[in-house]
């Protein structure tokens, strides 16, 4: 599956088609379990309660066969996972439907043949075939169904096979009634073909649409990538000049080039501060753009506990300056995690800086690692200004800053949480925020172990 990702647009759409087909085959397998069980139960009920004179043994055998080949297909599909090709999966789909038709024919033969109105259950198979298979294959399957039907009816008509009557349910002993046979056959056969025609037309149109949408989506992804590369180049250019400006301002504001008078010092300080803010914005923009463009991250095993402590240590000066106490707790059973260490480390540090920034002096921040089975939950809870409820849904948007955050702190890029979200999602994790305005914010990150 992963190999299919790296090829071009064509392969991507066919990969998605293949994925869709596999999904539907699993759905068909689930349906077949229900069918096998239903047949089994129906035979049991009709045989014992209503005392129908049906060949119970043969019907049980047929439903068991249904279950057995269903299991076989299930195992087969699981075993080719990862190396499936469209041709193979398509062949599996075709043989499943042919076998289904055969089983249905056998079941019908043992429960009344031409008299059995369940005959029309063949239509379901036609619809399933039209969804799963190509138009041509669907019509071939319909023809196979007609063939099975004709063989059954003829063999019963010429008494080569015994005829089992469905007494107490419907008229019986019609296996030699030519008028009945030709009438039912006409309606049955035409119904099958019409059903296939209608269902394949609809599903064909849907498949076409799906393909167009898939291609459009790929095109959008490609355009987004080009846009990101453009942003990266522009931001890099800005940063280069900004570096030089900062470099030149520094010695002046630091007094290396001689003492400044109060007014000069003040103005240079303002310039220094503004360039520093612009630089932090440019850096955040570079960071998120890089993450968007990076296809894979360097994964390694490391201790999340250590990363948390490191983040707390890195931000301790800021916390101390505001008399904020930062506590760390950890549940037992949390071993090393496989992730992109540097990204996680920076994300934790940035989030902690964020919490400190929006927590009033003498507040409290609790950092916790929780063991939640297959995932580790990282919690950062502060007693800060919180986020207004109606703004919570937008808080992870790029450049979005909550209204109260803008009042509390004029500066901020509005990129920090989007960066965190990107990093967490690249690890197939989840990030969400619980917050009450004025009380505090709890940030949750779930990472797979």
């Amino acid at each position: 599956m992963s190999a299919a990702f790296s090829h071009g647009a064509y392969d991507m759409t066919s990969f998605k088609q293949l994925e869709g087909l596999c999904e539907r085959l699993y759905w068909l397998i689930r349906l077949r379990w229900i069918a096998a069980a239903s047949v089994f139960l129906t035979v049991l009920l009709t045989g014992h309660i209503f005392k129908f004179s049906l060949p119970a043994f043969d019907l049980y055998a047929a439903s068991t066969a249904l279950g057995v080949y269903n299991l076989a297909f299930f195992v087969l599909l699981k075993s080719i996972k990862g190396k499936e090709s469209f041709v193979i999966v398509n062949r599996i789909a075709n043989s499943q439907i042919s076998l289904d038709l055969l089983s249905l024919a056998v079941l019908i033969h043992f429960s009344g043949g031409i008299e059995n109105p369940f005959l029309f259950y063949f239509i379901f198979h036609m619809i399933i075939a039209s969804i799963l298979l190509s138009k041509r294959a669907s019509f071939l399957q319909a023809t196979f169904a007609v063939l099975l039907f004709s063989i059954m009816v003829s063999l019963e008509y010429f008494a080569v096979l015994p005829h089992y009557c469905l007494k107490k349910f419907i008229i019986h002993d019609q296996q030699h009634n030519l008028t009945y046979i030709s009438g039912v056959s006409f309606v049955f056969i035409s119904t099958l073909y019409i059903a296939v025609y209608m269902a394949t037309s609809i599903s064909g149109r849907l498949k076409q649409r799906e393909k167009v949408l898939g291609e459009a989506n790929l095109e959008l992804e490609e355009k987004d990538r080009i846009k990101s590369e453009y942003v990266l180049r522009v931001t890099h250019g800005i940063k280069e000049h900004l570096s030089a400006i900062q470099g030149c301002l520094e010695p002046v504001s630091g007094g290396i080039t001689g003492e400044l008078n109060a007014k000069q010092f003040d103005l240079v300080q303002r310039a220094v501060r503004r360039t520093a803010k612009l630089m932090s914005f440019v850096k955040a923009l570079l960071q998120i753009t890089r993450i968007k463009l990076s296809k894979e991250m360097k994964m390694e095993y490391f201790s999340l506990r250590y990363s948390c402590l490191e983040a707390i240590n890195d931000t301790s000066a800021k916390a101390k300056a505001k008399f904020i106490s930062v506590n760390f707790t950890m549940e037992p059973g949390i071993g090393p995690i496989r992730a992109a260490r540097e990204y996680i480390q920076e994300t934790l540090t940035d989030l902690l800086v964020n919490s400190i920034k929006y927590t009033p002096p003498r507040g409290k921040i609790d950092v916790g690692l929780r063991n939640r089975g297959s995932v580790i939950l990282i919690e950062i809870a502060d007693t800060g200004i919180g986020i207004p409820k109606n703004e919570l849904p937008r808080i992870f948007e790029e450049f979005y800053r909550a209204s109260n955050a803008q009042v509390a702190e004029r500066d901020g890029t509005g990129l920090g949480l989007s960066i965190a979200k990107r990093v967490v999602e690249m690890h197939s994790g989840r990030i969400w925020i619980e917050s009450e305005e004025g009380k505090g914010t709890k940030l949750n990150i779930e990472l797979p172990k």
Binding site: S243, A244, E250, M279, S280, A284, Q406, T413, G416
Partner: protein, 160 residues
């Protein structure tokens, strides 16, 4: 609602720049040491020059990798400050290797300047001193801060 660590760190730096008490010691250790700056950005070069000259270092400048190598051989500097991006994006790496693979300059300390470290996962420290990959003694992330530049230069000169 987010601010990267840069602003805070920067403000901390501005408070503890150029500690006066180290002045005499550094002058003793590295008085008149010759420093070669290899960087193609004239403004960055000028700002570094001002800072380093204020600490009584002799500074000479090269704009390209080739010129840098020539001046290493011709002027025998005590330390080289080398930018990664010169004529090409990673020309600085080649220059560093060429200097360190020459037995005569094996012990010449190199301080590498880079702007490419931002969260790319590229950890320069790991490679610093690894002669096969990137034979430099330390690196400085751009944008430069005077305090950091001076303390790294002093540390490298003292280590000699």
């Amino acid at each position: 609602m987010f601010c990267s660590a840069t602003l805070g760190t920067f403000l901390e730096w501005s408070n503890e720049r150029y500690p006066e008490k180290d002045e005499r010691r550094s002058r003793l250790v590295s008085a008149n040491a010759k420093i070669l700056i290899v960087d193609d950005d004239p403004d960055i070069v000028e700002s570094m020059k001002v800072i380093l000259e204020s600490k009584n270092y002799q500074v000479s400048v090269a704009k390209t990798g080739e010129e840098g190598l020539r001046k290493v051989r011709g002027e025998a500097p005590d330390l080289v400050i080398l930018d990664v991006m010169l004529e090409t994006g990673d020309k600085g790496f080649d220059v560093a290797r060429e200097i360190k693979w020459d037995p005569q300059y094996k012990h010449l300390p190199i301080l590498m300047l880079t702007a490419i470290k931002e969260k790319t996962g590229l950890d320069f420290m790991k490679e610093a001193g690894d002669e096969q990959w990137l034979p430099v003694d330390d690196y400085c992330d751009k944008p430069l801060h005077p305090g950091e530049l001076v303390s790294k230069v002093e540390a490298l000169l003292n280590k000699r």
